[in-house]
Symmetry: C2
Subunit: 185 residues, 2 copies
């Protein structure tokens, strides 16, 4: 089974919302999908060039100010078809690696406090993330453009996951404390 480059679709997808430059896409991804999809420079620019060559996108404008250029791209009908073809295909399930859980799994090798620290740090980050979600929610406001609704759904997903993890953190910390006490006796 050939692996497909999903970056293509992330780029096409963003351009399906509105014409943008590579830099714009990067920023937009950071704003909206930061917790489930990121792209790096090393991917964005080369693949954008590829898409242009394949006529999946067209160069809408090249704005120049001095030696500073800005290339704005627009999705073409061919690109839109390709995007749709991918969107209707079944999601290929993949198991992401979780380093925290791997360290936890081998927790018996190190002192209990190490695991405790990892969980506390995770908890801290989760709380920060919840704040970000709240800000996004406010930004989304009551507008209901067709794609803001779908955005909202992904944010809701993130919130649920984070809250579940926060719950787990509490339980795990409690359990560790209990073990700690039973050992010190």
């Amino acid at each position: 089974m050939k692996r497909i480059n999903k970056t293509r679709y992330a780029l096409l997808g963003m351009l399906s919302h509105q014409p943008m430059s590579g830099y714009d896409i990067k920023k937009a991804l950071h704003m909206s999908t930061q917790y489930f999809w990121q792209e790096s420079d090393g991917q964005i620019y080369p693949i954008l060039a590829e898409l242009l060559k394949e006529k999946c996108i067209t160069s809408l404008a090249i704005e120049s100010q001095g030696s500073r250029t800005r290339k704005v791209y627009q999705i073409s009908s061919k690109g839109l078809e390709e995007l749709k073809d991918w969107l209707v295909q079944e999601v290929v399930p993949t198991i992401p690696r979780n380093e925290l859980l791997l360290k936890l799994f081998f927790g018996s090798v190190v002192p209990l406090e190490i695991t405790q620290k990892h969980i506390l740090e995770h908890q801290r980050q989760l709380k920060k993330r919840l704040e970000t979600y709240k800000k996004i929610d406010q930004g989304l406001g009551d507008e209901k453009s067709p794609y803001q609704l779908y955005w909202q759904m992904t944010v809701e997903f993130g919130k649920q996951i984070v809250q579940a993890q926060l719950g787990w953190c509490q339980d795990a910390l409690k359990l560790l404390k209990k073990i700690e006490q039973s050992k010190s006796q």
Copy 2:
């Protein structure tokens, strides 16, 4: 910042529990960490050889039956130190990509039913996964070896996450149905 090969630590970690062959490790990973850490053949065998050369593990036994050989490895004190060094280091937070959410995010590009189908399929898989967790729980039973407790914690994590996602699936499906009805009027 150099990227470090975490497969090393997954292998060392498994060997810290007990001596095993590459094939054993693969099976053990599948049994215990399948939902947050997997390794493929193409990684396991070469890295096992590397670890042996660096004396982080030793070859405990080479059992042969005909032309079928089985190499059992044991972690060395050097390997154990390396494992511990990694375990105490802070977890580097990484955002895993989520293809389901990406397709959802671009949901406005395709008919509503497509998104519905993706979520239903996800729901189906989550339910299957819950069953697996229950089986693992039964297998873990009441034994309390030092590392089974940590295993339990990772299983608990998985269960929480899955349940949160199942809740989200219901909400999302309800929302989609509402939109569907308001459109058909």
